[in-house]
């Protein structure tokens, strides 16, 4: 269950985060409202505790009983995590985009490439390569926060261990669950280290 939440949320986060980052980098006064909207979004979802967002969506939205809207806590848990983490991830992407020297864009534009194509072929590929380690760092956080979804109902690892503890008055299940989470995040952490090391070798 945790892994499923993680994988689905991750896919959405990568896309939404990138979209926000690009929208925020649009220049000119015409796009001011778009930029403002994105700034408000990132400020809001980075400011509100994740647990609160999960409660709001997990209990709030189904309670509205709007027809056609899914009532599954599983779905709303994913929505909540996606909204929160997209805000974080968009900032990581944005830092990446801004770290690409403006001369790269100038070189691309000077060849006749449009702003969009310069972004797509020249700026983004370099930006994304640079932000892979901090991105994976955020995903380690996401992997842990999938446990928070338990609070609105779905029985994932943490919830299951609570049930076991309550039944037997034995804390071993908590410990086992902790180990489970660590076991899941460690490969990700090592993968991040490996990527950083590889990038450093390439630069030499």
């Amino acid at each position: 269950m945790n892994i499923k939440i993680f994988l689905i949320a991750e896919a959405f986060i990568l896309i939404i985060g990138l979209t926000i980052a690009i929208l925020r980098s649009l220049p000119g006064p015409v796009f001011f409202p778009v930029r403002l909207l994105m700034i408000v979004y990132t400020d809001f979802f980075r400011g509100v505790p994740t647990i609160l967002v999960i409660y709001l969506f997990g209990f709030g939205v189904p309670a509205l009983a709007i027809s056609g809207v899914p009532r599954s806590e599983f779905v709303w848990g994913i929505v909540a995590l996606t909204l929160v983490y997209s805000a974080y991830v968009s900032e990581v992407y944005r830092a990446g985009i801004e770290s690409v020297h403006p001369s790269q864009e100038a070189a691309a534009r000077s060849l006749g490439l449009s702003k969009t194509k310069a972004m797509r072929f020249v700026v983004l590929p370099q930006a994304v390569r640079r932000v892979v380690p901090p991105l994976l760092n955020d995903f380690i956080g996401l992997q842990k926060d999938t446990a928070l979804v338990a609070l609105i109902g779905p029985v994932e690892a943490f919830r299951q261990s609570q049930i076991e503890v309550a039944a037997n008055f034995d804390y071993t299940p908590y410990f086992a669950t902790a180990l489970l989470f660590v076991a899941l995040t460690i490969p990700m952490a090592r993968f991040t280290d490996w990527l950083v090391a590889r990038e450093q070798r390439r630069r030499r």
């Binding site: 790269q104 534009r109 000077s110 060849l111 006749g112 194509k117 072929f121 370099q126």
Partner: protein, 247 residues
């Protein structure tokens, strides 16, 4: 017809005016060299011609078309103008071949095969073909700069702008890049070159312009500018270059 004409071009960055009204004409197949101290506006002038910097006043006409008129598609204008920068600005995440073929494919809509055939022909011509599959950081500065020139040439520009293209190079690598420029000049390429290589300017230019404080203080054939400069500031500038052993 002139390849490029500048009429009263002014450009400011914030409060500071960098170009105070530049008038300049470059005839087709001519090589015009811009000389002058750092900060005199040479680079800014080139970036304005290529529309990388919007100008505040005046007009720029390229190939008979006023490119500074409102509503002109800057991307289309840039297609016909190649620019090479001091710091090469190759795309580090692409191989040499991909650097050269990117714009022909994405801007001109050439097929991969066609763009690569063109690129390889240019790379052969400039002795770079064995580096086609390498990433830029594997190349020497001179090679990188030659790739940057080839990348600009792949768009078949009518005009090349060279912005101090040898300034970042180790002295022993300058020659190979200058040779490429000589070859372009011999082929009749129209070029506007900002340079600190006075000997080279003297040899290659049809017209030399001395920029000082954002204006063209003096212009003329190289023999005149370098042997009998009229303006005291030009004389002073050249004197310092001679003292530094660079002429």
């Amino acid at each position: 017809m002139s390849a490029v004409e500048l009429h009263g071009v002014r450009k400011s960055f914030g409060e500071e005016e960098v170009l105070h009204g530049i008038d300049l004409g470059v005839e087709e197949h001519q090589v015009v060299c811009l000389i002058g101290a750092s900060g005199s506006g040479k680079s800014t002038l080139l970036r304005c011609v290529n529309l990388l910097e919007p100008i505040d006043e005046g007009r720029i006409v390229v190939g008979g078309e006023e490119v500074t008129a409102p509503g002109v598609d800057a991307d289309r204008v840039r297609r016909g103008i190649g620019i090479v920068f001091q710091a090469y600005n190759l795309f580090p995440h692409m191989t040499v071949l991909r650097n050269v073929t990117l714009a022909p494919r994405e801007v001109l809509g050439k097929s991969k095969a066609e763009a690569e055939a063109d690129a390889l022909e240019l790379l052969v011509r400039f002795g770079l073909v064995e580096r086609a599959g390498d990433y830029p950081d594997r190349l020497s500065g001179g090679q990188q700069q030659r790739v940057a020139i080839v990348r600009a040439l792949a768009m078949r520009p009518q005009l090349m702008l060279l912005d101090e293209v040898t300034s970042a190079l180790d002295p022993e690598l300058v020659g190979e890049v200058l040779n490429v420029i000589r070859e372009l000049a011999a082929g009749g390429m129209t070029m506007l070159i900002a340079t600190h290589e006075m000997g080279f300017a003297r040899e290659i230019a049809n017209l030399v312009c001395f920029l000082d404080g954002g204006v063209i203080l003096e212009q003329g054939p190289p023999e005149q500018i370098f042997s009998a400069p009229r303006e005291p500031r030009t004389r002073q500038f050249l004197q310092r270059i001679v003292q530094a052993g660079r002429l």
